[in-house]
């Protein structure tokens, strides 16, 4: 009897065989058929990735490089010792002397030189090389336990790679009143699928673009290629974000994982000039520094490593101390964004903690590749470690003021005020508040069309405001909280973040509108100013009424939770094209722009048409996507009737698409750029103070009391030795 006959001899054996074959078929289908089918469905590319900077070195070249790096390390050590010494020449001489001394020479060689030398590694090939030794890593958890995880899985499943998460623990509430992903139907949420008015696009449509810029200083007809896109700050090195991770099954293909840029975070000597868009036969993607120089200088993570990307959204590209922005590329230079996203940098010049030598990871203590962002979250939503606290109190205790004569009173304020409220005096002056994507402005120097920043300010009350915050936020990034007196008056979604009353801002917006009108004659200045400063005026009365009711019914609960304190929030609004088929009381689905079309032609409509034709956006307007996530997404968005799959482009024209300001401003937490010295009492406690106590839900009597604190008069006068207040 041959083995096959033997296998089929009894019914049981036959059944086992059939089951095994079925399992094998399913596995093969999952491994071999599903990935290309998924890629084809969402129109994405995956291919073997090569990088020019990943070059093999001969042994002699390797030793030469090792010598250079060791010398550089010795120089740094020596320079740090004599940092505060005398004049430049004397310092130079001392550095040279010190560089030769035994104690400086000892251990100066970056440790990976020896590792690579011994292992015979003469070329850095990305994660493959790192994983040779670091296939698994140990993770220290806050409870003292230690676990070992697969390094690649750990990073691939982190927010840094997939920029979304669907685990629980979100502090985000939908306008329908449900906490995001607290129910059985979990959807992926994070930057990957949330279009945003700051970048004007989202990761699917804005991953990598090469823009042909025509700067005025270049000869006529000569163009420069410039890089732009979300991928510059995200470590996936492939042709698109890790879309596969949005599905309940499937994984990012191996070649995409090979594109992970380990060194941008782990190398102390990463060349940001390599971080530009390149084009190969499969499409556009972001280049990276895969030189041995970067690989051999791997060291403990310091703030500089994080800030290669994060200063971009904190200080901004225009920020004087943004080192990465000063290395924008040897070719295809990255477009530097004017108008800072948050405008509060983390650098020794502008942040007390950075100046004290604290590193990002001192507060954001990583667990493996998962990095906590704290339990309070308004924007972005995705959070790898939602339960882990990142707060001032964990270091500073509940009585942090020790210097002032009035330390007791200052400490008393902590019950109601977040530290940031006093210790962030202002944001960078280029902090963007109102951005018009619909009417771009020509930037002659760069030779590109840019979104028009209608209003920028870093001043309190203008660029940012103070809101009650208990750690919860809405689906469109509005801080939730309430005055601890349980006020019914405090209603930021109808007031503070839904209208601008400051006459100075209104005048600035009007001036900008007049300026824009020269380029865009269709603009009606009055309408422009009204919609920009009173975005709720864009809502039909029925939706406005529904909005008020939804706030009361759905959000009051989330607002009244826990203990709210006053926090500063950066304000932001943008005019974008919106798909009016999917409009609700809190806004309509905003449509992304195609960067290349936008920057090159300034035709904002054409840029939207182009972006909406991206395969994955087309899928978004189809039934499977609707059922898988869009219905749920819209419900959080405040639209309970579901996602309308009416595709907004017909025959290359936008249909039922209108330009609008978002119905309320987004509020972004500002936590960095901390100043050692806080505000003066009078900044808030005066009739014209920076806090609108009435709008913050205080009773008129209490407002009067808070605006007119008699103690303050004397403190301000420096008359603190004489008794200031008498009750008699």
């Amino acid at each position: 009897m041959n083995p096959l006959q033997n296998l089929l001899s009894t019914p049981t054996k036959r059944r086992v065989l059939i089951a095994a074959l079925a399992l094998l078929t399913l596995t093969l289908a999952y491994k071999l058929v599903y990935p290309p089918v998924f890629d084809a469905y969402v129109g994405k590319t995956n291919a073997q990735l090569t990088y020019e900077s990943s070059k093999p070195l001969t042994n002699a070249e390797f030793e030469g490089l090792a010598q250079d790096l060791t010398k550089e390390a010795r120089y740094r050590t020596a320079a740090a010792i004599v940092e505060s010494d005398q004049d430049a020449f004397a310092r130079q001489v001392k550095i040279e002397m010190l560089m030769g001394t035994d104690s400086v020479v000892r251990d100066a060689e970056p440790p990976h030189i020896k590792y690579f030398r011994d292992a015979g590694i003469r070329r850095y090939e990305g994660p493959k090389t790192c994983l040779t030794c670091h296939a698994a890593i140990k993770i220290d958890h806050p409870d003292g336990s230690v676990s070992t995880v697969n390094t690649l899985d750990d990073i691939v499943n982190s927010v840094h790679f997939k920029f979304q998460s669907e685990s629980g623990g979100f502090s985000t509430y939908g306008y329908d009143g449900r906490r995001v992903n607290s129910g059985p139907h979990k959807i992926p949420v994070g930057k990957i699928d949330r279009a945003c008015g700051i970048p004007g696009s989202f990761t699917w449509t804005g991953w990598a673009a090469l823009i042909e810029a025509s700067p005025e200083h270049a000869a006529a007809g000569v163009t420069q290629l410039r890089s732009e896109g979300c991928g510059q700050c995200h470590i996936g090195g492939n042709y698109q974000p890790a879309t596969e991770k949005m599905m309940p099954i499937g994984d990012v293909p191996a070649e995409a994982k090979e594109g992970i840029d380990c060194l941008i975070c782990h190398s102390t000597n990463y060349d940001m000039n390599q971080r530009v868009v390149i084009k190969d036969e499969h499409g556009l993607r972001w280049d990276q520094d895969r030189s041995l120089r970067a690989a051999l200088t791997v060291g403990p993570i310091r703030s500089e490593n994080c800030l290669r990307c994060h200063q971009h959204n904190m200080g901004g590209d225009a920020y004087a101390h943004n080192a990465a922005a000063q290395a924008s590329g040897y070719k295809h230079q990255r477009i530097l964004h004017r108008g800072a996203k948050r405008g509060n940098p983390f650098s020794p010049q502008d942040d007390a903690h950075a100046a004290a030598g604290l590193q990002c990871t001192d507060c954001h203590r990583p667990q493996g590749h998962k990095i906590p962002r704290g339990r309070k979250g308004v924007d972005l939503v995705a959070n790898d470690l939602p339960g882990q606290e990142v707060s001032c109190e964990s270091c500073h205790s509940r009585a942090p003021h020790n210097n002032s004569e009035h330390k007791v009173l200052l400490n008393g304020h902590i019950e109601r005020l977040a530290c940031e409220t006093c210790h962030i005096e202002k944001l960078e002056s280029d902090n963007v508040v109102l951005r018009d994507w619909v009417h771009p402005t020509w930037n002659a120097e760069e030779g590109i069309w840019e979104p028009t920043d209608v209003y920028r300010s870093g001043a309190p009350g203008k660029g940012f405001t103070f809101l009650w915050f208990n750690g919860n936020g809405t689906f469109l990034a509005n801080a939730l909280g309430n005055n601890p007196n349980g006020s019914e008056v405090y209603n930021p979604l109808m007031q503070q973040v839904a209208r601008i009353d400051d006459p100075e801002i209104i005048a600035a917006v009007r001036a900008k509108a007049v300026e824009l009108k020269q380029q865009y004659p269709d603009i009606d200045v009055e309408t422009y100013v009204r919609t920009a400063t009173d975005p709720l005026s864009q809502l039909p009365p029925a939706l406005l009424a529904k909005r008020e009711a939804m706030i009361q019914e759905n959000l009051r609960g989330a607002m009244n939770q826990g203990e709210s304190r006053l926090y500063p929030f950066k304000l932001f609004n943008a005019m974008m094209f919106e798909d009016m088929s999917n409009q609700g009381p809190f806004g309509a689905m905003i449509l992304p722009f195609d960067y290349k079309t936008y920057y090159e032609t300034g035709d904002s409509k054409a840029a939207v048409v182009k972006a909406v034709q991206d395969p994955i956006v087309q899928r978004m307007y189809q039934e499977p996507f609707k059922l898988y996530m869009m219905d749920e997404f819209m419900s959080y968005f405040g639209i309970t009737s579901g996602w309308k799959t009416i595709y907004p482009v017909v025959d290359g024209k936008l249909v039922n698409v209108e330009p609008h300001w978002m119905r309320q401003m987004g509020t972004l937490m500002v936590n960095h750029g901390i100043q050692g010295k806080g505000r003066e009492c009078k900044d808030c406690h005066s009739p014209n103070g920076i806090m609108d106590f009435a709008m913050l839900g205080y009773t008129p009597e209490r407002v009067a009391e808070l605006q007119n604190v008699d103690v303050v008069e004397h403190l301000a006068a420096g008359n603190t030795d004489t008794p200031a207040v008498s009750q008699k």
Partner: protein, 332 residues
Amino acid sequence: MGWILLFSGMAGTGTACAETDVGPSQASASQAAETPSAETPSAETRSAESRSSENRNCLRCHQMATLAYRNPENGEIVDLAIAPQALSHSVHGELACSDCHDSDFGQYPHPERLKGETLACVGCHEEHDDAAERVYRFKTIDEEFKHSIHVTSDAPEVAGFSCHSCHDPHAFRNSEIGEEIAQIVRQDNGICLSCHAEIQDPLRDPHTWLPKPEKHREAVRCLDCHTPLSEDGQAVSHRILAGKDSNRDCVKCHSKAPQLLNRLYQYRSETDLANKGWISKAVFNEAYVVGMSRSPLIDRSALAIIAITLLGLGAHGYGRYRAYRRSKENRT
């Protein structure tokens, strides 16, 4: 009925200790006058209105829940916050701030000369008209306290130990009959644990000899074992005993007449006793009597065995009755 001072408004953890040695820089918010000054009008003579307006003025700052500072001498956080709710419900809720504190505290910054002032309770309380009628006189408390380990010890931690080290005069109130015992125990032990942190450290806890120390801590007050038994009707002495002198005899609690534990049980409400109490009071006294079970499982199984036995007896009787009837029928 025994009269006991139990205190339900503990200030923040660590505070009670910190208050004791804050030195001259303390802006004394939680101190009561050593000897009541003659010029201070009594609570009765002042109108409620002026009192409340004065207190409002002080509370404007002192009701900030985070009003505190770190004592530069030892790094401890000194809590100066007063919870208005707790104050008005406390035994001192009827008083104006200046009844105890110097009225010049109404000025901010508080005058330097006031900052070293120390205040104590006994003087004021013994001057009350009804002082002599009290079952548990402040004089007695004072006597007992003088022999307390917190006074007699040489340890540097207890230097300056006073009433306020344990009792927050701005929240102090007597425990009342009917309050949940677990709650009373929790609050009471919280005071001790706010200084005696080592008890919560499994490596340093001296109570490891106790079976189930955690259960004991939830069910009895530290004071129940760490004070001598007093016979004159008062429930707990203010003479805190050192560990070595404290009760280690299980039977003092785990018996039918638990002398130590009875002091705690006075807080059970009359209704509680009436509703479900007589068996547990008379038979178990809610205590684990050595040799008796407080395990619900064993209790229920025992009840089940009794029930089954009764059922068996009943069934047997019924069978006998049926047999008797049948034999009677047969005869007829």
